[in-house]
Symmetry: C2
Subunit: 280 residues, 2 copies
């Protein structure tokens, strides 16, 4: 496995892979890799011949009061996990090389970014779409792999790639969960044991909503209120949003639809957690 | 020469060219091709093995009161000129295929777009950078060719490609002029004979400014005023701007510098003309 911060070396190796008619796969990450990330790498490994992981804690997608400084950066462990998973190239650029002096270009997806995470975290998605455009231009993959855990993010990136005619297929992979149900996230390390228990209310609420639909409940407003209540009645949980939306437009639904996604976000202590579930 | 509006066919032929290790060149145009465009094609032909011309009158770079509807569209003549110049693929997508329902992604270069054309034509450069990003993603060229005539445009596109790590080299080619000095432009067909005579004041003013610098004038403010006066004293000419700027930042200069560009824009009757000259 090549570990490099050098875009020229990356481009050279990708060009070599392409000339050998290899399919190129890319898994963009901010590091602090957990089994969810590794499942993306395994999917890339299964579908592609040359697998790149990018590791970049992108400052422009963090708000001024967010956790950029304390975001976990276990670089050696990340390298070991990538090596074990069969990654070919671990690209870990510096912030100065990604955003040199005079940097001034931004990619923005409108509409899809207005609500939910976009409303709570102004500027977040502009940072995400800009850095992902850069990383996809640098790695030129046939396929790029994202987790369903960040549901709105994968929807926004999918839209960006389609709108800008980027030659990359976006693959969304299922959320991985710990045995207690908590969606895997690099931010889970912030949680105290008590907070972790509170955080379980997110997945519990999602399952509750899904089960209500499965058992024939048709009052979507009642389901949405139950989704929220399950979290709100849990000590230490402050709900940012709890909704049931169209999986493509992310607009809140008012009636049961064939495809729905329940989206939740809450703060537990100082930690922000998000989760989602496709219904049915 | 293949003439097609089909992005899938374009991508397939570009992929074939790449596999044959051909260098791919792209000349993005809005059609109404003149000798200036053809000089870009000839440069592409000289430097690349597979030459694509894109022909798309991009609605998003026109303001609501601009000339989108009446912009000249001599499609057959454009095809003939491309064929004669040795173009391999003429890509002429429809507006509906470029901006399908739900389109919502935009690429924006900040700073460089604040002044000059950006100030006179709000939203223009956002339309340009978005469509050029799309066209470069569709054509995946090693090199893309733009005319110096649209000086700010080539600076903005160059910045976008650098910032977003797009794998395309931007080549700027010299402005071609008619024998009377008027910079070639698809919009020159709008000019009446009298307006055309008035329009010559732009290139005359640029030459005047350049000659003043060459002859040792060091008062840049005086040169700038002369640049503007040469146009303003011409009947029927209404100056939008006349400046001498840094060729990279496009910031107006206050002192003589080793590299300068004189930029002018004016309305002559209902037609807007722009021109520029590098000094020295």
């Amino acid at each position: 496995m090549v570990i490099s911060e050098d875009a020229i070396e990356l481009r050279r190796m990708v060009a070599d892979a392409r000339r050998s008619r290899k399919l190129v796969g890319c898994v963009p990450t901010m590091g602090a890799l957990h089994d969810g990330h590794i499942s993306l790498v395994e999917r890339a490994r299964a579908e592609c011949d040359f697998v790149i992981v990018t590791l970049f804690v992108n400052p422009t997608q963090f708000g001024p009061k967010e956790d950029l400084q304390k975001y976990p950066r276990p670089f050696e462990a990340d390298c070991d996990k990538c090596r074990a998973a069969g990654v070919d190239f671990l690209f870990c650029p510096t912030a100065d090389s990604m955003y040199p002096a005079g940097y001034s270009t931004f990619v923005e997806v409108q509409g899809l970014t207005d609500q939910w995470e976009g409303a709570v975290r102004p500027g977040h998605f502009r940072g995400v779409t800009t850095v992902v455009a850069k990383l996809l231009n640098l790695t030129q993959p046939d396929k790029a792999f994202f987790g369903q855990k960040d549901f709105q993010q994968q929807a926004v990136i999918r839209r960006m790639c389609r709108d800008l005619d980027m030659p990359t297929e976006i693959i969304t992979c299922p959320t991985l969960r710990d045995s207690d149900g908590l969606a895997m996230s690099s931010r889970n390390v912030y949680l105290s044991p008590a907070e972790r228990t509170s955080g379980l209310s997110l997945s519990r609420a999602l399952l509750l909503a899904r089960d209500k639909v499965r058992s024939g409940e048709t009052d979507l407003r009642a389901i949405r209120l139950a989704l929220r209540a399950e979290m709100e009645q849990t000590p230490g949980v402050s709900v940012d949003y709890a909704t049931i939306a169209d999986p493509d437009s992310l607009m809140e639904l008012t009636e049961i639809a064939p495809r729905m996604v329940a989206l939740v976000a809450a703060r537990v202590g100082a930690t922000r957690l998000i989760d989602n579930m496709l219904i049915p």
